[in-house]
Symmetry: C2
Subunit: 199 residues, 2 copies
DNA sequence: TCCTTATGTGAATCTGATTTCACATTAGCT
DNA sequence: AGCTAATGTGAAATCAGATTCACATAAGGA
């Protein structure tokens, strides 16, 4: 295997992506430096040229996930102006994300997060609540434009949204793809829709 | 510390409970044999008198959790006959469970489950789906008695229920108790109620 | 009470992973 | 082309935690 030298900024990206790929692969229990290195055809020690240690690498991964979520949201915002449609689009996209990026729930729930570093848990908490806040914002805008009924609290809708997506990820995961992801999302959407637009 | 000899059936119980206690303690990252032993004032090696290995111990813990969930449900069934009240009672109890037994989400999400053993993941999947099935049953009974509208699928209600409880656990956890658990459950209940009884 | 066996112990071992280090190579600048 | 700093490597050090084992002890039945 040919392993070229890479400028560290690119290599860092590659490492993060390799890590996500590994985590998305159902077989992988815990993220090992060795595995990440192999994925790139590098020696484990090479990783330390780019990250101080495993911990720093994990931080970079977290950041990458945050960005993915945010980007997702931006795209939906551009895709349509209507709040209800936006919520739906978010759900659908999230379904895809769950399929393709199993890494996300994997990380969110992993011991890495819950372990030692209180700091990391807080970081994750901020990512999640930040995401919720963005969804909430969509709802609030929708309410202002009369697309969404006023008497449900936006904050609650956001949490319900989260509540659709998160267990779906979990169940899909546990079932090794057996769980009917789309079905669940459709069902949930029907109810959410009714909840949000009807009186 | 005085450490008496214990018949293995009692000791097993103690070990499982010690493990849960450790996991419920926010400080604990991963469940270490050493920690479990210390909690009981035993030498680590003593644990191996009661469980073949760490893995067997984890299995016992899973089983214990399954029992807890099931017991919870049984109590609610006895508490009231009305399906809607039952759902509410379940929510409230679950809130308590989240507070007191942080161990449960901890285990459910842990690497222990997702790691190596496919078998264990399946076991967990069965526990969760079993629980969902029981909630679904409550809904179905409620529908038969006219307490719950017929045109929402029981299966979906069960998942929504799960969707209320699970993210709550996660957020409460991440926030180190800062997250407004009761508020969330109340809000969610209001919506669920409307969804389930209104047309 | 005596014996047998289950339970407990501490030290040693095994395992699997992260990390460090001295050395090699390549990229890219002048 | 030649130099230098950045990147990569393999072997070895380190670490943490699970597990084993030979030995100790106490519980409970005969």
């Amino acid at each position: 295997m040919r392993t070229e030298k890479m400028p560290t900024d690119i290599r860092k990206e590659q490492i993060v992506e390799a890590a996500l790929a590994i985590l998305s692969d159902n077989a992988a229990p815990k993220l090992k430096m060795t595995d990440v290195a192999r994925q790139l055809g590098l020696a484990p020690s090479a990783l330390y040229r780019h990250f101080k240690n495993r911990d720093a690498m994990l931080s970079a991964i977290l950041e990458h996930i945050r960005t993915m979520l945010h980007t997702n949201l931006e795209k939906v915002r551009q895709q349509t102006d209507n709040a209800v449609e936006r919520l739906h689009a978010m759900l659908v996209r999230h379904g895809r994300l769950i399929r393709e990026q199993q890494a996300i729930p994997r990380i969110v729930f992993s011991d890495e997060i819950w372990g030692q570093k209180k700091e990391r848990r807080q970081r994750m908490y901020r990512i999640v609540t930040g995401y919720l806040a963005e969804i909430e914002a969509i709802v609030v805008e929708g309410q202002a434009k009369g697309e969404i009924r006023m008497d449900v609290e936006a904050r609650v809708v956001a949490k319900i949204f989260f509540g659709i997506v998160q267990p779906a990820a979990l169940l899909w995961h546990m079932s090794e793809g057996d769980f009917d992801l789309e079905g669940h999302i459709n069902d949930a959407w029907t109810l959410l829709l009714e909840m949000v637009v009807r009186r």
